[in-house]
Symmetry: C2
Subunit: 245 residues, 2 copies
Amino acid sequence: MLVIGNHVSPYARKVLVALDLKGLDYEVDPIVPFYGTDAFTRVSPLRRIPVLIDGDLVLNDSTVICEYLDEAYPEPPLMPRSPADRARARWLEEYADSRLGDLIIWRLFYARIVGPRVFKTVPDEAAIAQVTDVELPAALDWIEARAPDEGFLFGNLCTADISYAAFFRNALLAGWRIDPARWPRTAAWVARVEAVPAFATSIRYEQAIVGARGHERADAMRAAGARISATSFGDATPKGSIMLR
Amino acid sequence: MLVIGNHVSPYARKVLVALDLKGLDYEVDPIVPFYGTDAFTRVSPLRRIPVLIDGDLVLNDSTVICEYLDEAYPEPPLMPRSPADRARARWLEEYADSRLGDLIIWRLFYARIVGPRVFKTVPDEAAIAQVTDVELPAALDWIEARAPDEGFLFGNLCTADISYAAFFRNALLAGWRIDPARWPRTAAWVARVEAVPAFATSIRYEQAIVGARGHERADAMRAAGARISATSFGDATPKGSIMLR
């Protein structure tokens, strides 16, 4: 299997952690969003990261990919068992993918980190403060009311747990940390997810990626233990738009 | 069960058709997007249409809701059987929900119909022409390559079939029709989905809704056969933003 995308994308990270939890073999093409070639557009018509290629099956969208991995490779399960809990897990994951995607990825991480580095944009500090001081705290209040007292959302670790912890890594990379005094259940829950070996591995790769320049990234990931694909869907320069999902 | 949303939303229609295909009893609260009360915000924190309330289970997001209905009420199934086909179906549905959602709902139906009526906006004809003459045809080319020769995408009707037919209803309401000379497989496939009794019923409700003024809508739907809930999450005036999903 091949995954296009790298651990700094919360959507790609969700897939990569799921693969590791299931003990599956895969290669990574750690392209940076925005840098996909025309061949990338053919396997990802919305130019989304991540893409999973498993034989002749080409899949887009991290939620779709994780549902596939859980059905095709059922052990250990990454979804709860009852239809109602599965639905709750899917909706919590969707809340993270949509709301935290908007707040943390586009309006914080992109505005603070990606835009300035890739497109030389200047951060709009007032807009960022609206996220960090108003809207993200309101989302955290909503999450805190749903965070588990102990363990994970539905007993065993599920895709939704991974998704929340992944977004908060990007918040951290952009300088925003969950205040454990204000959101103690969320902070403790996210720390438990981060301690799961497959998630801890993803943090090791994330650190290798953010510590390396573009053309050194594959080597840094290889040094950290990743299997990097021999060919790449990535280009040397940014090209067109991208959606993360 | 209660569904908040009405058949003119392609996302709500997907859920309503699924309920009818499974022969389930439900009431509808046919609120117009943008008109949700504070109580609506509590059951739909992203102010999304549709919402499904089944006992103490409150679900948002049409994809999540349809997955739930298919797991909790399995007959007839609305997903293919093999993990690979299920994944393909989910990805095709996601393409519709994202790409056709952007093109048909926001940049065509909203720009042409909803905005002018609800918010007194003036359609930007050049932007609409970019959708109808360039981007939507390109999406149709992508869809045409995947449309089934006969029957439905994966044998039995599945959620993805419903989703495509639902979006093209909104295109039609905004004046854009699939050209059967240019996209013959897609046009024939969508016509087959529209002929399925549960989908045909949704068109009857759609026509009742678009033919009535706001406060007459519930009566028009009731006259067409719908069970309308006694209380409503809808307000008399537009209030805040909404997301359709």
